[in-house]
């Protein structure tokens, strides 16, 4: 369980998140949606302890985040950042292998189990055919799947994904979201992800958090949060909402910018 209380985060003295409180239950799939620059990535990074808040606190299963070392946190929590950099000539396999480092000490050899986890991650992100390639020679979507494989190697209990579907074609988007749902169902991994596609968020998550200007304006099930008023409030658009005939989740058709 993740409990965030009165969180306040500044960048260069400019407040980005002002007073945010939030409760995320175990084994849920939570999607964060909201306009560009509203602080979604900032919130994810603070949960991953990559940014320290000015005030407020974050509890992970009851213990404050600040009591975790980088090492112990990295064994339970993995994050896929929105932007990733890597050396030019690293191979896919090498990068994915880095995902095991939380479970290793320096100089410790990789065991059979480590290699099994690595193969498992490579298999499930569907990158076996490119694993010997150099990362710089991959397409944006292939690269994204490699980074996700690295996160999976950490074998986290909590997986934070910042726009995991960017760069992916619609087929791979669906495949990835299905994989995420599988990971959640089979392994009980808590998923917190930032998505821009409201319909995908509605279909694949138990919970939606709507953010605007560093505040949460709605935090509930997809059915309750996805309303004309909330969508208008977030994105300043008029929309029509109906049901997805297959998954029965809510489906938003954007109509026009509000006047």
């Amino acid at each position: 369980m993740i409990e965030i209380k009165n969180l306040k985060i500044n960048y260069d003295k400019i407040p980005i998140i002002k007073n945010l409180s939030l409760l995320i239950k175990k084994k849920e799939i939570v999607s964060i949606i909201g306009p560009n620059g509203c602080g979604k990535s900032t919130l994810l990074k603070s949960i991953a302890k990559l940014i320290n808040p000015i005030s407020g606190y974050i509890l992970l299963d009851g213990s404050p985040l600040s009591s975790f070392s980088e090492k112990s946190l990295s064994k339970t929590l993995a994050i896929l950042s929105q932007h990733n950099t890597s050396p030019e000539d690293i191979t896919v396999k090498q990068l994915v292998t880095y995902g095991r480092s939380p479970h290793k000490n320096w100089f410790e050899q990789y065991s059979k189990k480590d290699y099994e986890v690595i193969s498992w991650a490579i298999l499930h992100t569907n990158i076996s055919n490119i694993q010997e390639k150099k990362l710089s020679n991959l397409s944006g979507g292939e690269r994204q799947r490699v980074w996700i494989a690295m996160c999976l190697c950490q074998k986290p209990d909590i997986l934070l994904l910042d726009e995991p579907t960017t760069y992916l074609d619609i087929g791979h988007q669906l495949e990835l979201l299905t994989l995420i749902r599988e990971l959640n169902k089979r392994l009980g991994i808590t998923i917190i992800m930032v998505l821009h596609d409201i319909n995908q968020a509605a279909r694949f998550s138990n919970h939606i958090i709507m953010m605007k200007d560093g505040n949460i304006i709605a935090d509930d099930t997809p059915d309750k949060t996805i309303t004309k008023e909330n969508i208008k409030n977030l994105y300043n658009i008029e929309c029509h909402i109906s049901k997805d005939p297959i998954s029965n989740s809510k489906y938003v058709y954007p109509l026009d910018l509000s006047i």
């Binding site: 990559l50 980088e70 090492k71 990295s74 990733n84 030019e88 100089f107």
Partner: protein
Amino acid sequence: MNKNKLLKIIISACILIFLTIFLSTIGSVNIPINEIFSSLIDRSSTSFSIIYLIRLPRNILAVIVGMSLSVSGVLLQAVMKNPLSDPGITGVSSGATLMGLIVMLALPSLTPILSILVFLGGFITCVIVYTISWKNGISPIRVILAGISVNSILGAGISLLSIIFSDKIQSVLLWLNGSLAGKSWESVQSIFIYIIIGLILAVCFSPMANILSLSDETVSSLGFNINIIRLILSSIAVLLASITTSVVGIIGFIGLVVPHISRLIIGSDHKYLIPFSMILGGILLLGTDTISRTIIQNIELPVGIIMSIIGGPFFLYLLRKKS
């Protein structure tokens, strides 16, 4: 293990060993190659003393100095995530230079412990640079900026000393430009063990250098303490650079250029890059030093100058060829 890269390392290591011995026969007096071994029998012969007492120790010194400066450069480039970094940016060179000048020009009575003082000068300057740039951790850009300011302050001190003691500056010019002239087994002995330890540590910590090629956020989220990694790697680099400077003076360029050439040849995986840079650095300084002592009869040119004259154009050639 990548067989191809391993092969490159082994071949270059063989070349290095061969050159170290072979180049001991070349100089103002050329000695036939077969005397390398035959002179060992007669220890009173001139060829024995030229090869084994004069040239070989100097060549070995050139090799270990070249190795440590190159590895120092590789490590600092990894720490700073900046391919233009070299040992100089941490303040090692200017700190060492200033201390060297103070001792040689103003306090000649301290000359017996010159090496130790020069080492301390470089090391302490670097500690100062890191201390003033520390703010919730090491940020490469702050280290680089702090390094530039400290370098310019010390540079002013160096100029000032050169002007005040302009009558004596002639005698220290050779040292300022880096020189291996007249170095004996004693110099080799005085630094050998420290440099070997530094180089072994660098090889052992090569996985750390690799990790730093990821973004800071990724490094942290994989459970590493990025400040500790940066501190460890910087310390190894600075030790290597300041120890060599204390014995041979300032030899620039090699710490910048060798890592680049090596990366073009063997890639950026530090597991291979560090050993390869080490060997290439040894070869390069050995070759340059041989040129500096043979190109003009009876005159020793500072190896640092030759290094820049040869290294600059060669580096440009490589860069052009790559793109």
